[in-house]
Symmetry: C2
């Protein structure tokens, strides 16, 4: 993509309404614009990142055996009355009346709708287990939306729902999702600490929140160092994990016998990006979701739900990866891998080298944003640091005359002077 | 994907509420389920088709130079007051009041929002032309939703908006979209006839509806035979095209001097799947979207909007491609390319051959739905015809013993007895 054509309205000034780094940087880097309180438009740069994150989530869900469908955003109030949540949910639910005076709502979550779909279409235990998911926009009418996409009102969420014939099956589904979550966050370059969440009566240890570690995280987290080691694996033993200490600051108790000694206790900041939850027959009983069991008798299915805040992850990744100059995208979610800077657009030799490199990289499937604008070098460097592509490839008249370009790593700041061939080889390796 | 695990609730009975073929077949083939009046859940099979159609639309928009972003579903009433459409839009607009008593709405279209984004972020004619688009769920509160996804309330639409400094630029943008539409529909195997639509005062010939030809189409269409030839091209001369006769039955007048003679007049049924529209400065004036022109003076930008009914296309394609037994997907949008039928699941030789073919095709990137269920051959053939994959690959004990499998083309009905190698070669060619 040529920057001269790309719709990338970067800002030099820091917008006053943005209190945290990710919100500030997403506005400045031209990733989002607020359309109404807590409601955002994703501009092309932000949309590219959001799609990459969505695709990683999708691939790991599919790999774990979950099947994708798409439920609508608007739901009927009736099914929420069946579950008893319509009145209970409170003002966060965006309630709507249609032209025929039917009560509707913009779904804040989908337990009711998926239970309805399941009960209408699945009849036998032989069709189990099933894990169904979708990635869809949700709405929660936050009283005070803030922090950009971190606490917006309209947000993109991946929610999965598991259906099993018994507790053992439900536990296997839970573990499959748990491990899919570890892989998902790791692929995005994140350290995500799963912590036993408050589950109420149902669920026991089968409810975890996943917190991404970031210095600017919203909550304090306390955890056993062994957690990092376990969470770095692709699959973990839930039993082993559940014995380790990991809690948010609200629940931290240094006098608890479970709290590890100081040399094993890590204190950090975290951002919640996922929540998984086993809730047994709560919805299947309320809504009559039964299947014929092996003996022919009806059985209420055992269910769990599993959420990832997809749009929130964009903010969380920026909180984990940025510096004073801008964002530093992990490669897996970067909107482009390379930013190609032509230091003297209009100069025949510079243009030729840049066009050649642009073509060569594009042909190899490397995503490049080519800054071909007729602008000062300082502006170009600042914009490229701000939007945070992992690699910057810089061509100026002096280097080009000597057959050299500069390759800069945005994460380490390391710069190399290389021949064009060597630079391309490194970027396409 | 193994059918024994796939969430594919097919129906033997024809649902009574479905009046047209696509609605009937989408329900029977387990592609959709109604969640509320005119609001559907896309089950895995339907969702796969919807994504393929969406991706073709996206690729052709990108190829035409349009840039993708994503606007939210919920909009503020304020911007619709600026354009004057809030009161004018009527009951089809789903109006919402949030917890702070602010008036909101579920966007039925996005002229206002994109104009707001444009005016806040683009300042100079040098940044033009721009074509911005998104593919997002819309809501129109139809008084009587019907025909499944063809006239639902929540529907997926691609809408593009062009911004130019003058009429000539706007016309070039219009032509780029016009030709992108021809390519888009052709890639899906559709014959789409563009017709000059009623434009009111503004726009002149720069407004077209695209109608997909299908025997069961909703409107009668009358057009000059030369249209088919022109529409089969990748790019057409709009001037030439606009001289040809093509109208819906409401506007057909056999006595019009423009109506061609009977031997050149084609009569068919059509389904509207796209609408493109030049509207000049209507929104840029109402909402103050100006850029600095070449002389530094402010200029109201010239705009157009361009819609494709993405979810509606699923229904339109089925209307164009089906028979009494089910759907017949064009390959480009088929949920899987091949249906692999194991006629005797549990038989060692059949299982072995099927597993080998399943693996070989999957490894080559061919999407296969493998019917590994322990069920009667009749059920398997009926389900496979119903869901309409382009190819059926059938292995039974007798054939397998002789080293043969059967390959059936769902479109032509043609069957071939082939060696496993020859069948695989044909499917991976």
């Amino acid at each position: 993509m040529r920057l001269s054509r790309f719709f990338l309205p970067t800002l030099k000034e820091t917008p006053s309404e943005a209190q945290i780094a990710s919100h500030r940087l997403m506005l400045r880097a031209g990733m989002i614009r607020q359309s109404a309180s807590g409601i955002y438009t994703w501009l092309p740069l932000g949309w590219k990142v959001l799609q990459k994150i969505e695709q990683i989530v999708r691939e790991e869900q599919d790999a774990a055996g979950a099947q994708e469908l798409l439920m609508p955003t608007i739901q009927s109030a009736d099914i929420w009355r069946e579950s008893g949540r319509y009145d209970a949910y409170g003002k966060e639910m965006l309630r709507i009346v249609d032209r025929h005076d039917r009560e509707m709502l913009f779904g804040p979550t989908n337990e009711e709708l998926i239970t309805q779909i399941f009960r209408d279409n699945v009849k036998s235990y032989r069709e189990l287990p099933k894990i169904l998911y979708h990635i869809q926009w949700k709405f929660r009418d936050e009283v005070r939306p803030r922090f950009g996409v971190m606490r917006g009102r309209e947000f993109l969420m991946k929610d999965s729902y598991s259906f099993d014939i018994d507790f053992d099956g439900a536990k296997r589904s839970y573990e499959a999702m748990f491990n899919a979550y570890l892989r998902t966050f790791k692929r995005m370059g994140l350290t995500a600490i799963p912590m036993v969440a408050d589950s109420g009566a149902i669920g026991g240890n089968l409810t975890h929140e996943f917190h991404v570690l970031a210095e600017t995280g919203e909550s304090g987290v306390f955890y056993d160092v062994a957690y990092e080691e376990l969470a770095a694996k692709d699959a973990v033993d839930l039993e082993a994990l559940s014995k380790l200490y990991a809690v948010t600051d609200e629940k931290h108790d240094p006098n608890s016998p479970e709290c590890p000694p100081a040399d094993r206790l890590k204190v950090a900041r975290g951002i919640e990006v996922g929540h998984i939850f086993y809730f047994g027959t709560k919805y299947s009983k309320a809504m009559g979701a039964v299947v014929a069991g092996p003996d022919g008798n009806p059985v209420h299915v055992e269910m769990g739900s599993y959420g990832i805040g997809v749009s929130r992850l964009v903010g969380a990744i920026i909180e984990a990866y940025h510096d004073d100059r801008g964002i530093k995208w992990p490669e897996a979610v970067a909107p482009f891998k390379v930013g190609l800077i032509n230091l003297k657009a209009g100069d025949g030799a510079c243009d030729r080298v840049c066009e050649d490199m642009y073509r060569a990289l594009s042909e190899q499937g490397v995503e490049v944003l080519y800054d071909d604008r007729d602008d000062r070098a300082g502006v170009k460097f600042a914009d490229m640091d701000l939007i945070g592509l992992p690699w910057q490839l810089v061509a100026g008249p002096k280097g080009v005359a000597a057959g050299l370009v500069e390759l800069k790593n945005r994460h380490t700041g390391e710069k190399q002077e290389l021949s064009v061939e060597a630079a391309l080889a490194q970027l396409t390796a």
